[in-house]
Symmetry: C2
């Protein structure tokens, strides 16, 4: 796989350099740690801080989600690897204004350990209160009765959006964490992989599939899915993804949802809109209202081919928070 990079080991730091240079009015890198990025302005006094983080390679997740009404900061790990505690602690100290910080991250062993250690350090060193929100929206990664084993994928976008809006509206630390957890509870994602990505350091494919094969439920780092089979028409793929979600969570007639059709990297917007078209048809047939739609690359796996569908069931509170104004480099103003 040909890549526009310099030295493979420098890709993350160079990406961050370019990122903060490209969006100086929105974000800045901390002097204390080159893997900590926070909003350009100071976090507002009396506002709860929202901190996200995870491995690189999922851009625009997670650093693209930093901004007003979204996250206050992000800790950036190596490609597909959790950030160590240091950048998490540095960002925590930078965004805490005495009201505590909510950590939002995916349900992966490395993230659980490192965010946990960072919280202990932040509490020990500066008496900062931390709440944890662990995202586990990936239906394919474990059965319904073992939800605590499920991984976090594209649904983290909605959880971050809600938490950021809640913090901006003046929710307390526990309230922000609570509504973020509630968002995770009503969010489900199912994905399909068509082609692998290649890590810059090794240039090896993250998985292998035959020329006309797809894999349902493939993980964001190439973790095995639930079923390999012949590539089907987009409508049949969408049918499967939505059905797996609706088998897992009760969303029925009259309910309202936010929908995200997310590209994994190299899948075109044309394809994503074709998938969305079918998702809309299925939900319309069931009289489920799509309140807001998002179609594009929100959480990728480098240049992996494929997509995921995320549904978040909205109540009045989540609707208001999803609607709240926000701005971040992912959506830099025109």
């Amino acid at each position: 796989m040909k890549k526009l990079i310099n030295i493979p080991n420098d890709v993350v730091d160079e990406m961050i350099d370019g990122y903060v240079k490209a969006h100086p009015k929105l974000v800045r890198k901390l002097n204390e740690n080159k893997r900590s990025i926070v909003i350009a302005s100071e976090t507002r006094e009396n506002k709860v801080g929202v901190l996200i983080g995870g491995g690189s390679g999922h851009e625009p997740a997670f650093m693209g989600y930093v901004g007003k009404g979204m996250a206050d900061g992000v800790a950036v790990g190596n490609i597909f690897a959790s950030p160590p505690p240091d950048p998490i602690v540095a960002a925590t100290k930078a965004i805490d204004k005495g009201n505590g910080v909510v950590y939002i991250y995916g349900n992966y062993a490395g993230d659980l350990m490192n965010f946990g250690m960072a919280a202990e350090l932040a509490e020990l060193e500066e008496d900062i209160d931390i709440e944890f929100v662990v995202v586990n929206d990936d239906v394919a990664s474990a059965p319904n009765n073992e939800k605590e084993k499920r991984r976090g994928i594209a649904g983290e976008f909605f959880v971050t959006k809600v938490a950021g809006a809640a913090a901006e509206k003046g929710y307390s630390l526990k309230e922000v964490a609570e509504v973020a957890r509630q968002t995770n509870n009503v969010t489900r994602t199912m994905g399909v992989g068509l082609s692998p990505c290649y890590l810059p350091q090794t240039n090896e494919p993250s998985f292998t599939l035959e020329n006309n094969e797809m894999e349902i439920g493939l993980g964001h780092h190439g973790e095995p899915g639930v079923e390999k089979g012949e590539l089907q028409e987009a409508d049949r793929v969408a049918d499967r993804l939505v059905q797996d979600i609706l088998n897992d969570i009760t969303i029925s007639k009259g309910n309202k949802v936010a929908v995200l059709v997310n590209g994994l990297g190299s899948t075109t917007k044309m394809e994503l809109y074709i998938v969305f078209r079918r998702v809309e048809q299925i939900l319309a047939e069931k009289s489920i209202e799509i309140y807001r739609s998002y179609v594009g690359n929100y959480s990728t796996s480098l240049e992996m081919g494929g997509c995921s569908v995320t549904l978040t069931k909205l109540d009045d509170e989540l609707t208001e928070l999803i609607d709240a104004e926000a701005n971040c480099p992912m959506y830099a103003q025109l």
Copy 2:
């Protein structure tokens, strides 16, 4: 190339279906023509209309640029093919409020012919005044003394942004066209191709390159570039692209520019930010101020690999118009 599609001949219509269903508050399809998309609300009385268009396969260009402060409408062609006159005429009639319509499109034979014919029909049938703005920002596609032969590529984003803002501010038909042409005059793009795209109907690659080869100046539809050679480090590629631009237009110390590092489809945001990092270094060394930066997929060629760099030299008027508020599905609110 595996694709998430249904029947290959239906991809454009199905994409449009999904698109208008995904963004109903922002855009709508005309009943008169299924390839005409306009803003959801009516174009404001006394505002000049801005109409864009071109082949599909460049998403989010061009339909992602329709919205308040951007274009009022778009005519959508087949993949890599100009829209015929009909959808152009239908959109023209829908967005004209008696103040005329500016057509913005790339410098391709099909577009020149079809937008020209559409203008004649619109003038004949409903006495609508039309102005043409032909974008030709691609430095690689012809030498400096034959600029009229150059193709339009990613720079069309800036031309559309400026025209949309000017129309919103109440500029007259001739004034909108003039400032859009002025934007085109100070906009230059250079691209590099790494890997081809595959048309859904044929599944054939748009061009071929060796395993470790890149092509400088490759066109958005696979038109031959100016030089093939071994893939170089991102910094050297950026050096080359920026140098070719600065050899073509005088941008010097103290000047202000807008920069777009555009992905062609399958190139990761990580790589685009690494390229931007070097572009920023080069311009900083020359004391050229980056006023605004855009990094991402603004004008693609399906899943082509590679990127382009666009510089637009800003005066006070263009700065104000680039800064003006805008909203469109490409930047649907969070």
